[in-house]
Amino acid sequence: MTAGARHLDGGIIQSSVIVSTRWFAGGCGRWAGCAPSDGTRIYIANHTSHADFPLILAALPAHLRERTSVVAAAEYWRGGKVRRYVAEQVFRTILLQRDHVALNQYAQMIAALDRGESLILFPEGTRGSGQHLQPFRCGIYHLARARPQVEIVPVWIDNAYRLLPKGALVPAPIECSVTFGDPTHLYPGEDKKSFLERISEALLSTGRKNGNNCYRH
């Protein structure tokens, strides 16, 4: 969805989601490995909660938020009236069919990158329990191969699964943090498996170094 297609109500709802995210989660962005940049980036983050993408958006400066889209699962976000409204009118989203990622779906993402927009991607593909990082799906590899110059920024989100885990409706406020790590690229000649392992490790080490992902439970 482009910004122009969104309703005014959507904009108001988006602002209220960002403001409530700040209240319930704090969620100051920590720019540990890079500074906010106008350049095109793919933010790859660990995924444990619906609060994840509002948290990343809230951590971005407002002018970058306006040109950053979230890549999300189509079958989930088209699964009900409210979800569909949120995905289509409130946030900038690119919806993908998870099971059969067809060529035109990459086309949507690549077109967004070519327009100079940034993407937020959850390479695990689905929300986890917060205990481990799940294996990455290959979409990010194909995207990186199509646009190798685009910076890939690992983003570690802490505590989102304690704020609003899968299946929960009422948030339990808790300080979350969003840590932006060292940008990376697809190396020339790097194969899929080693690339996915490398960026997965980069994301984990962003969390280990800068987040507090060692909370006692």
């Binding site: 339990a172 300080e175 909370y215």
Partner: protein
Amino acid sequence: MAIIAIGISGALMLANLVRSLLPASSLVDNLSARIQSWWRIAVVLALASLAGQIGFLVLFAAVSFMALREFSAVAVSHPTDRHVSAACFFVLLPVQYALAGTGNVVLFTSIVPLTSVALVPVFTALTADSHAYLARVSERIFAIVVCIYCLSYVPALLTLPVAQDGAQLPLFLILITQVSDVLQYIWGKAVGAHLLAPHVSPSKTVEGLIGGIGCATALGAALSWMTPFGAVHAAAIAFLISLTGFLGGFVMSAIKRDFGTKDWSGLLPGHGGILDRVDSIWLSAPVYFYVVRALAVK
């Protein structure tokens, strides 16, 4: 009130001036961030003071909310405890501040502490999850006492039947604790030689503590016009406030050290989280409240 505003602005401008004279270093960058956050805190306090009692109630309810949010990140809790946790934010916190606004000391000092001591264990047991049960219950109750109950004594000062101009009673408490904190830091950096308790608070020194509390006590005497007391009483109260302020901060440092973190969050650049600022208030506020009430309320 105007004098307080001018005094605080003057002190912060002086801090800005001193900072601009220092050679650039990471310490000075941190100092700049600290001073900038101080300006923001001063503006928020000024707005709350203009709004009077309701302003302080709303401000400290918000402070409690943020403090509890930061504390929740380090307290032991299980996913099953989420509803108990949400109830602290959305039920206990508003109830406590509403009661603090009534000025009924019996109600506001008993209902929330007693119900949390009774209900937190019950509802935590009802989750049918007994792993780390006592730690979950006790850390939750400690969080409620520190972040909600004790901090609500600050706006409650405005309900005391004492003649006061504007929000002078809470502002006296806030000024003394914060000045004492800052001066402990400066004295420590300037002449500090003996570390007080390096395993709890790595930078606190004996010299800093004596210098900071001594100066804050003198400031209390000079600001006695903000209180219903004479210079000697005000100085003694300022001494008590800085001492309990130090102890409160010391307790919160021990928690941070136990958890292995330096700051509670990144909310206030240069300072850390909101708890890094109010860690010297949670213990001194109730002490100050009862001292004022015993001495000044007939």
